[in-house]
Symmetry: C2
Amino acid sequence: MIIDCHGHYTTTPAAVGEYRAAQEAALRTEPGHIGVKGIMAISDDEIRDSLEGAQLKFQGERGTDLTLFSPRASWMGHHIGNISTSIFWTQHCNELVARVCGLYPDNFAPVCQLPQSPGAPIGPSVAELRRCVTEMGFVGCNLNPDPSGGFWTGPPLSDRTWYPLYEAMIELDVPAMVHVSATCNPNFHTTGSHYLGADTTAFMQLLTSDLLKDFPDLRLIIPHGGGAAPYHWGRFRGIAQDMGKPPLAELLLRNVFFDTCVYHQAGIDCLLSVIPADNILFASEMIGAVRGIDPETGHFYDDTRRYIDAATLEDESRAKIFEGNVRRVFPRLDARLTKGTTA
Amino acid sequence: MIIDCHGHYTTTPAAVGEYRAAQEAALRTEPGHIGVKGIMAISDDEIRDSLEGAQLKFQGERGTDLTLFSPRASWMGHHIGNISTSIFWTQHCNELVARVCGLYPDNFAPVCQLPQSPGAPIGPSVAELRRCVTEMGFVGCNLNPDPSGGFWTGPPLSDRTWYPLYEAMIELDVPAMVHVSATCNPNFHTTGSHYLGADTTAFMQLLTSDLLKDFPDLRLIIPHGGGAAPYHWGRFRGIAQDMGKPPLAELLLRNVFFDTCVYHQAGIDCLLSVIPADNILFASEMIGAVRGIDPETGHFYDDTRRYIDAATLEDESRAKIFEGNVRRVFPRLDARLTKGTTA
């Protein structure tokens, strides 16, 4: 079985964008606007249409089985509006993902976004995580380390204001993928520099802080192949050593995992040669940041299964990366698969 | 000959820190304080003492010949004080580097920092570049893409406010290394996430903008192995392709170069397998971000010559990386070496 731990609903029906546009319009006339949840009217057929020729088609063509599916990351847009904006938007996005997973229980398992907002307390995120996991069967969440959208004005992940969320994650036995959203800072490109920079930033926050000492059972996934971390593994090993920290394997690798969203063979080979197989989770992020076909290979850049297949790797390691690790990091997914249903 | 294109004067005599502390003290009592240049009293013997047991010793031990030497990057601190703070500090730092290179003309060639300051015009940077190159024989400069120190509140490198600097660089025939300084944002770690994130950010600004179309003769070095760029080369190729841009080789590689400050073999191997040899410049950043010995190899993490020596590489490519490319990117260095003196 091949489980893709990183997919977003990037092909949503038009009503999703329309709901968001209405929120933004209300905020333009009144920046502190407190809305109502309202309705995001989407039929099951519209959902099917949005997936059958897209994610589901690629799953079939690429031979992957199940995708951990979350709302579109670049649209989380935590910097837009206020906490009320974020709560209602997030509830709709998560409920839509739950419907996707209900319609295609063998193909998708749900991961939620959180209603973060710059300067807002973490309580609503804890509540939404709890609602998603206990009422709708979600198996994980996406946590935005920079709700400001590229200005990094909030506290680092090691700050105690985040701790109630980590406590809830451990209680509910779900991991988080640390994943920023779109940037509103013109210095950054969302899926280019902002995503990768945030991945490296989060990794470094974990390396330098005592967060994982305080939460030895926390599990965090650094997406996009860990940002720059594996490529600069020697730098990070050396910095930790200079700081008097234990080796990275001991310091981080009981809690931190990297996905395989690296879109060329040499990058995947670097990842696989540096990071232990136990800490790598298969992922493609399809349909996501890069949608074209690589003229050098004739295949989609984000068909990451091909790179893992082509890599020099023990069968046991490949099986861990494709399935075993994801089931270990997402125990609620494992429980469903063991019971024979992902619904 | 082996030329290290990336070294900072990180081991300065105490008077340097004392000068800076006095500036900061004056700014604490009066945030808009306009100082005077004053004096940074350092003897030639103090300079010799600061280098003989450090950079010069390592050059000898590691078998490298010449280092392009600039003021300590993390101390540029463009976010501290105002433009007057930055001008005086920068003048002293550059003059000190000029003295180093005068004392050891076979070992060091000077690269300057620029008196940037958040929101300040670029004029003083142009003037200092001109002074350093025409009066003191500098061969390049370091350009900070984020003078705010980690809040990224200024314009991207493609903004026209930077253009007078690029015009001067081309007129003077000197390249810039795009290098941030210390971060004052607690989300970032200076030499871990801030440096690498800024490298990737700058790379992406070049990829998405028309800057290199406007300045086809501009030469920029992205340090620290290009941040995350080579590791994610497929992602960047794909993003450019999705944007309808030409291939990266055509779009960027006539102007953009990467150094070899990657502190483990697997990372260097990734860099060398992805980036053409013509675009890679040897560098170690010694003595810099990582100062320890790698227990896995028994050698200093930042002894990057060993990784290049051990890599599978044609002799011709190795010669380009160690010497030829640096001389091509820094023509004023090449002219001196051809004349037989680096002084």
